[in-house]
């Protein structure tokens, strides 16, 4: 022991000693590996399983899931990494293990933990609020040339009424790149209108009209499902639809007996 040890160690010395500890290094290693696993899940799992993105809302939702997973990966990694190290460092035998260090608390750690988790929370909140705000203001801007679709849920079918064109159909066909306003209601119990690939959803309530807006921006088929248990054949309350070019849409409307004004 040299004489410098008689002085209390500086923060730098304590930090250097801390990161040289075996348990700290191993915990860090495991944390990194688990973080990588969660980042991989975020970048691969959700994008792989979520359906095709056909509107901005769907794009937003998908992005939030991916980014939130990546952001939360280090937190999950830290917790599970430390837990994994202690798990592997277990006590073997049939008697209780020897006593560990009597650490009652560590105020700086509690403080840092609270502040950091609050920051993460703040990021999540601001992200969501900004996205909601953008979505609603964009929807408001595009209102003028919007196409209105009156959606009616009944046990157990969807009906789509296009008041501008004077047609009504069990298929939800929409022109691409044109904003659409869904006005949703129900004639019996609650349903939930879910055009899956458009990433929006709102309940259908009797004697009430709920509204949701979106703009389909990719051509292709869409699935419409009911996301609220509505009785016996809830599972079969499905419809199909298609996002088509403006000219195809017009010819569909004509074929259905409507007028394209």
């Amino acid at each position: 022991m040299n004489t410098s040890n008689s002085l209390p160690p500086t923060i730098g010395e304590r930090a250097r000693k801390f990161i040289k500890r075996h348990d700290v290094r191993m915990s860090f290693l495991y944390s990194t590996l688990i973080t990588a696993l969660f980042v991989f899940l975020g970048l691969w799992f959700y994008p792989k399983f979520m359906p095709e993105v056909m509107s901005e809302q769907m794009q937003n939702g998908k992005e939030v899931i991916v980014y939130f997973t990546v952001i939360s990966a280090p937190v999950a990694g830290l917790v599970l990494g430390i837990a994994l190290y202690t798990f592997l460092n277990r006590h073997k035998g049939d008697t209780p293990p020897p006593d560990g260090p009597a650490i009652r608390t560590n105020n700086p750690v509690v403080l840092v933990w609270t502040v950091v988790s609050s920051l993460f929370c703040l990021i999540a909140i601001s992200w969501g609020l900004v996205e909601m705000n953008v979505a609603s203001s964009e929807a408001a801007e595009r209102e003028p040339n919007a196409i209105v679709v009156e959606v009616t849920g009944s046990q157990w079918v969807w009906n789509f009424n296009y008041p501008d064109y004077g047609i009504s159909s069990d298929k939800l066909n929409l022109p691409i790149d044109r904003p659409v306003v869904f006005r949703i209601t129900s004639v019996d119990v609650n349903h939930s209108f879910w055009p899956v690939q458009l990433g929006v959803k709102v309940d259908a309530n009797r004697h009430a009209v709920t509204t949701v807006r979106t703009t389909p921006n990719v051509l292709g088929g869409i699935d419409i499902r009911c996301a609220e248990l509505c009785g016996l054949y809830h599972a079969y309350m499905e419809s199909e639809g298609e996002i088509m070019t403006a000219s195809n849409f017009n010819s569909w409307v004509t074929a259905e007996g409507g007028h394209t004004a």
Binding site: M58, A83, P96, C121, M132, H207
Partner: protein
């Protein structure tokens, strides 16, 4: 038991008292007589051919069943004596506490908190078994698209009954058995503050469970456990059973909650100051205190539903100016606090376990208390996040998103407390400790997916999908139930006097936990792909994800059966447990096995908290 013991105990029996003649059997008989007579009586009042009249008949019969059962088992003997200006004699009170009776006291209106705890334990395990069997049937029906294992009608009923059975079971899974059996000993009390109310809370729950079972004979509950209003008003006669069950259960949990709270506030041993209360006691108290304001709204919602169904009011009927949104609000004002009512005692049990098996003090008990209190406080401000997509007020989605995501901060503190306790420790990986690790993994996944769902743009996509189902199973089953299983393994030696079969519990643990993760990772995938919840059938696109889930479900089911075997086997002929097998410093381990009637010969005096483990560096 020797003849001598029999004789001495006989001498305590109040000879002519009615109490000695009443038990579960007389309760059942009285309940059946009451409900049958009410049935025949009301049939002459109301017309059997109209749905609304049938609802009246069934509702009245079920209420009569509950009252009849409670009269038959002797729940009202005490209050009746008060009415005529008397009370039970000392001998009768001793008899009511189960003194000198063997197994039979478990079938009586018994005021001993240990008996009530065991009654709760068996009741909860029965409910979990029934709910688990229903889960297996649900998953079997979903094994492939177009499988016709059950009809859609039965499937919907299974979904609803699985849900409500599991929710009721999980609400009492930790506070019932451990909160009644262990908690009073933990704080050094001879019994609960209100022993008769304690018995009442259990037997009310029993009548509620029987009522819930009767729903099968009346066509089931086709609405899911949420019983959303226009659908529930439209539903068949089975719905009456659901309504009555919830009303009775709300009374039962209010009584239990008041009782536990009063016990913790007023019955603590000398020297057990607020900062020396064990964390399980704090967690349970916060949980039941949270239930006290939460459940009345659920009860109110069901009373209104009963009025809509029987006498034709229109609380939820949009035709006459009511609104389904009213139901949704009342339901979720209960519904969100309720998930924390479920979660907190389980977590608290794990926090109680960790220091014992790591031999370190609980890290920052203040952070744990702030975490629990923060969760409880915020949880009453977040209910409408279940209604983002309901359209009732899109402009309020923002504020509810803020409060919801703020819950991640106190939840983070809970992780910190467990993690800080593990830090630099060498854990003794017995069954209770394994549950702590399973909790960390499951709650991490449940928590992070909860943050996605609290984000409105994501919820617009995922709401009502299998993703939500997977998320809340991770928190309720993966975290809360795992916590309760840990608590069972931990306190089993004290509750039964025998050790839990070790090898069987390990086998059960790994099957259950691995199976559990397989089920719900499959379900996360199905939900991300766009499969709605509560569907009896689905498209080919979801086939792989659902098949994986079903395989996982069978693994979990097997694991749970092994646990059931382990519990029954160990209870009957397991290894005799020493007084303190884990070397814990908490008060419940200072009483001998079997625990004497009033727990302590001499009331303990507490001089420190229960976490004095560890060497000073």
């Amino acid at each position: 038991m020797t003849t001598f013991a029999n004789k001495t105990s006989k001498s305590n029996v109040p000879e002519k008292s009615l109490i000695t003649k009443l038990n579960m059997g007389t309760g059942l008989i009285a309940g059946i007589i009451f409900s049958e007579s009410m049935y025949w009586l009301s049939k002459s009042w109301f017309d059997m051919n109209e749905a609304r009249e049938i609802n009246k008949i069934l509702t009245l019969s079920m209420i009569a069943w509950c009252i009849g059962f409670l009269i038959g088992i002797g729940a009202f003997i005490g209050p009746f004596r008060w009415l005529i200006g008397k009370d039970l004699t000392d001998e009768e009170q001793l008899y009511m506490a189960g003194s000198g009776q063997g197994i039979s006291r478990y079938f009586k209106y018994c005021t001993d908190h240990k008996v009530v705890g065991i009654q709760y334990l068996v009741g909860v395990m029965t409910m979990l078994g029934a709910g688990g069997t229903m889960a297996m049937m649900i998953r079997t029906n979903l094994i492939k698209p177009g499988s016709k294992f059950v009809t859609p009608e039965i499937y919907n009923s299974l979904v609803g009954l699985h849900g409500i059975t599991m929710i009721v079971a999980l609400i009492v899974v930790a506070t019932g058995p451990f909160g009644n059996f262990i908690l009073p000993i933990m704080i050094g009390a001879r019994d609960m503050a209100f022993p008769r109310l304690n018995a009442l809370s259990w037997w009310l729950l029993f009548t509620a469970i029987v009522t819930l079972c009767s729903t099968w004979f009346f066509g089931g509950i086709p609405t899911g456990w949420t019983a959303y209003a226009p659908l529930s008003v439209q539903a068949g006669p089975g719905m009456n059973a659901f309504i009555i069950t919830i009303i009775i259960f709300a009374i039962s949990s209010a009584i239990a909650g008041a009782n536990i709270t009063a016990t913790v506030v007023s019955m603590r041993a000398k020297g057990m100051t607020l900062n020396r209360i064990p964390i399980f006691v704090i967690g349970s108290t916060i949980s039941v205190a949270l239930a006290i304001p939460a459940f009345p709204t659920f009860m109110a919602s069901q009373i209104m539903a009963a009025f809509d169904r029987t006498i034709g009011t229109g609380f939820y009927d949009a035709n006459v100016g009511g609104s389904g949104w009213l139901y949704a609000h009342l339901f979720w004002i209960m519904g969100h606090p309720e998930v924390y009512v479920i979660l907190l005692p389980g977590v608290a049990a794990l926090m109680e376990i960790t220091p014992v098996f790591v031999r370190k003090p609980l890290f920052s008990i203040n952070a744990a208390i702030i975490g629990f209190a923060g969760i409880a406080g915020l949880s009453i401000l977040v209910w409408a996040h279940h209604m983002y997509a309901s359209g009732w007020s899109p402009s309020l989605n923002g504020p509810f998103m803020v409060t919801t995501e703020m819950i991640s901060i106190p939840t983070g503190l809970i992780f910190l407390v467990i993690l800080g306790t593990l830090w630099r420790g060498t854990p003794w990986l017995k069954m209770p400790m394994l549950c702590v690790y399973a909790f960390l993994w499951n709650m991490m996944i449940g928590g992070v997916t909860g943050i996605y769902l609290s984000d409105v743009p994501v919820d617009d996509y995922l709401h009502g999908s299998m993703f939500v189902t997977a998320h809340f199973h991770y928190t309720l089953m993966g975290a809360a139930l795992t916590g309760a299983v840990g608590g069972l393994a931990f306190w089993f030696p004290k509750m039964t006097g025998r050790m839990l079969h070790e090898r069987a519990s390990y086998i059960s643990f790994w099957f259950t936990q691995i199976g559990f993760n397989v089920i719900f990772l499959g379900m996360f995938a199905a939900g991300s792909q766009g499969q709605p919840r509560r569907v009896a059938d689905y498209e080919q696109a979801f086939a792989t994800s659902d098949l994986i889930s079903t395989i996982g479900a069978y693994l979990t089911g097997f694991g749970m059966l092994v646990l059931l075997w382990a519990v029954i086997h160990s209870w009957r002929k397991g290894k005799i447990a020493p007084m303190n097998p884990w070397g814990s410093k908490s008060l419940e381990w200072t009483v001998p096995n079997p625990i004497p009637l009033e727990n302590f010969h001499e009331l303990p005096v507490v001089t420190s908290d229960a976490y004095g483990y560890g060497r000073s560096n």
